[in-house]
């Protein structure tokens, strides 16, 4: 059975589900799409797996192994796999691309050139290769994770970054409205396994060389790519200007 949601209906479904619970959004996503998977980063987005496992026994989950994760994250991925009896799909970067980068620039080029090139090869390329096989995916993105880049995250959207001319990809962000506090309350209340790095002061967890613990009252994103300046990243056509002339 092939299930889907028409591209044109996404906005109205977003409006309908904007304030519903993560479980309601997940239930909707899993009921509408057969070819759907959760992207699991190895951090607190494990709550999505816990919620989905209570809805269906056939939840598909994938993780991106960049080759540079902390040992604790690898242990955690395996623990989650066993705990939920998951067929956890681990995606790897293209060996030739990684080899070329390391050969040309060494193992820590991101400290000089910025993280984008390395992330592109180790994370986004394998992600894209996976996403072209799916009709929809589910992420643990939350608005409170980054006021700059995630302030407007909807709970459901057409994924313009990874859709192709032939295929529309739908992205669900069931945790968009949840705060870190709510996520951690869920983890404790439901006794969900978590990455041991959280006990060492890590909040946002990525690759080992690009992640560090943060101090009290520092935003979680201050523990990622801290050596880079956040400048103007894109040329937005400000919504206020655009909407005012509608």
């Amino acid at each position: 059975m092939i299930l889907s949601v028409p591209e044109t209906k996404i906005d109205s479904i977003q409006a309908e589900y904007a304030h519903k619970s993560p479980q309601q959004i997940l239930r909707y996503a899993l009921s509408q799409f057969d070819n759907i998977a959760i992207s699991f980063s190895g951090a607190e987005d494990v709550v999505l797996i816990d919620m989905a496992a209570k809805i269906t026994k056939n939840v598909k989950v994938f993780s991106l192994d960049t080759g540079r994760l902390h040992p604790e994250t690898y242990q955690f991925l395996n623990r989650v796999r066993e705990h939920y009896n998951l067929d956890l799909e681990i995606l790897f970067p293209d060996a030739q691309q990684v080899q070329k980068l390391v050969q040309e620039k060494g193992l820590f080029s991101f400290y000089q050139d910025g993280h984008k090139e390395c992330c592109g090869i180790r994370k986004v390329m394998p992600l894209r290769r996976k996403l072209v096989t799916l009709d929809a995916w589910i992420t643990g993105q939350r608005r409170d994770q980054s006021p700059d880049t995630r302030a407007e995250i909807p709970v459901i959207q057409n994924d313009v970054a990874f859709s192709t001319q032939e295929r529309n990809l739908v992205k669900f962000n069931p945790l968009a409205n949840w705060s870190s506090e709510k996520v951690w309350k869920y983890i404790r209340y439901h006794d969900v396994p978590y990455n041991q790095l959280h006990e060492q002061g890590f909040i946002s967890i990525g690759c080992q060389p690009c992640t560090k613990p943060v101090l009290p009252n520092q935003h979680e994103r201050e523990g990622r790519w801290w050596w880079e300046n956040s400048g103007s990243k894109e040329c937005g056509l400000h919504t206020t200007s655009v909407s005012s002339i509608k």
Partner: protein
């Protein structure tokens, strides 16, 4: 096929960084001949044609391309790489496509 490019003019009167970058690449790759019309979206002028087109096509990022086919169908591209490969049928390196996706989707950093 008719191609329109919409470039953004910022409050200081200059092209935004990405509009300038894409235009330079079009020049460098000798593709300016494919552009039939250039429209500007002035950040300070809500009624500028570029902002009206952005609203019409629900685009929130500059530059973007509007491609009108001979059968009158219209495609809008905010991705330069996708414009190259789909509208102009050019080969685009995967690395380049990925760089553009990352530049326009900052939240991907934290996937």
């Amino acid at each position: 096929m008719k191609v329109t490019i919409v470039k953004k003019i910022t409050t200081d009167g200059n092209l935004c960084r990405k509009s300038a970058d894409v235009w330079e690449r079009l020049q460098k790759e000798r593709l300016l001949g494919y552009i039939d019309r250039i429209i500007f979206a002035h950040e300070t002028k809500p009624n500028s044609e570029g902002l009206i087109l952005a609203a019409k096509h629900q685009v929130e990022r500059a530059p973007f391309f509007i491609v009108q086919q001979d059968d009158n169908s219209t495609q809008v591209y905010t991705s330069y790489a996708r414009f190259l490969s789909e509208a102009l049928d050019r080969q685009v390196a995967e690395k380049e496509e990925i760089a553009e996706i990352m530049a326009s989707s900052a939240d991907l950093d934290f996937i």
